[in-house]
């Protein structure tokens, strides 16, 4: 009884806070100052990315992205370590039920298409909606489809680890080149800017985003592969 009333009081306090937040919100009609800086004509020309969200993620707040990718790497590493410990004293049970013929054929056809879509999404990250994170997630989902069919048997986490480490190193290296050749860390003006709105534009943004995509994709695949390995064993 006391516990329930405590929970109720906590929620009531929280709801009051939320209501204050709502009461002070009265629909924007103008951009605020920071956003106006990012949408400024001169600044858009300088960065050269048609998708402003990409410009913010990769260039203006690139350091955030670096930290974010590091957090994801740490989670993947902890999960791998944690589930490996569990596996050490587990024995293999009987093989699981085979997937149906229709599902197997459809998965075989769809896996490469989804994979190519993922690559398309992160190569065009600076022009269309999408980018490294979305592309990585799409690649991981094609990998899930592959795992569900059970083509791979034991999944090979070595390969993903190698891809992931190389992408991380290249990401930091391209960022550091910015210090040497342009204004600062993760500056994208180290290469030809190209014409605005074409595939080869926006300097180093496509390169950075491709490697972010590969890194996120391999990390998510690693997490999923680990969970799948554990749930297959008895």
């Amino acid at each position: 009884m006391i516990r329930n009333s405590l929970i109720f009081i906590v929620l009531l306090g929280f709801a009051t806070m939320m209501y204050t937040l709502y009461a002070n919100f009265d629909g924007n009609t103008e951009l605020n100052n920071v956003a106006r800086f990012y949408a400024n004509e001169q600044n858009i020309q300088d960065v050269g990315a048609a998708n402003l969200v990409t410009a913010v993620v990769v260039t203006y707040r690139g350091l955030d992205t670096l930290g974010e990718v590091t957090i994801l790497f740490l989670t993947a590493a902890i999960i791998g370590f944690f589930l490996k410990l569990q596996q050490a004293n587990a024995s293999h049970g009987e093989p699981k039920r085979k997937p149906s013929e229709i599902f197997e054929t459809a998965a075989r056809v769809l896996t490469p298409i989804i994979f190519v879509l993922g690559i398309y999404v992160f190569v065009n990250g600076h022009l269309t909606p999408g980018g490294g994170f979305q592309g990585g997630a799409i690649i991981a989902s094609s990998f899930v489809l592959m795992l569900l069919v059970g083509q791979t048997g034991h999944f090979n986490s070595k390969l993903f680890n190698i891809i992931e480490s190389i992408s991380g190193v290249v990401f930091v290296f391209v960022g550091a080149l910015g210090i040497a050749l342009a204004g600062g860390f993760l500056d994208n003006r180290i290469m030809e800017m190209g014409t605005f709105g074409t595939l080869l534009s926006a300097g180093a943004i496509p390169i950075i985003y491709i490697f972010v995509g590969l890194k996120v994709g391999s990390e998510l695949s690693n997490i999923l592969g680990n969970f799948r390995e554990v749930q297959q064993e008895n």
Binding site: P129, G131, Q134, S141, V144, L224, N234
Partner: protein, 83 residues
């Protein structure tokens, strides 16, 4: 106007599904309901002019995290059976 109606519909469905996710007895139904909340949220992001966020939420929030939940549920059921 049509956007308003769609948003209202999405919001009401999301809240109902959130209730199902918390209170349904079967865990598999609760997990699916949480996935539906994410999926409808991604449509809402699209209406709020955020296609990037919509893509991320659709692929990660409702795809990958539902699959991880089901892997864990499956593992727990198997351990339960073998005991």
């Amino acid at each position: 106007m049509i956007n308003l109606i769609i948003t209202l519909f999405l919001g009401v469905t999301m809240l109902i599904m959130a209730g199902v996710a918390i209170y349904h007895k079967k865990l598999s139904v609760a997990i699916i309901a949480a996935g539906v909340v994410s999926l409808f949220a991604s449509v809402m992001y699209l209406l709020l002019a955020a296609p990037d966020v919509a893509m991320t939420e659709a692929s990660i929030g409702s795809g990958l995290s539902t699959i991880i939940f089901f892997y864990v549920l499956n593992k727990i059921r198997k351990t339960n059976d073998s005991k």
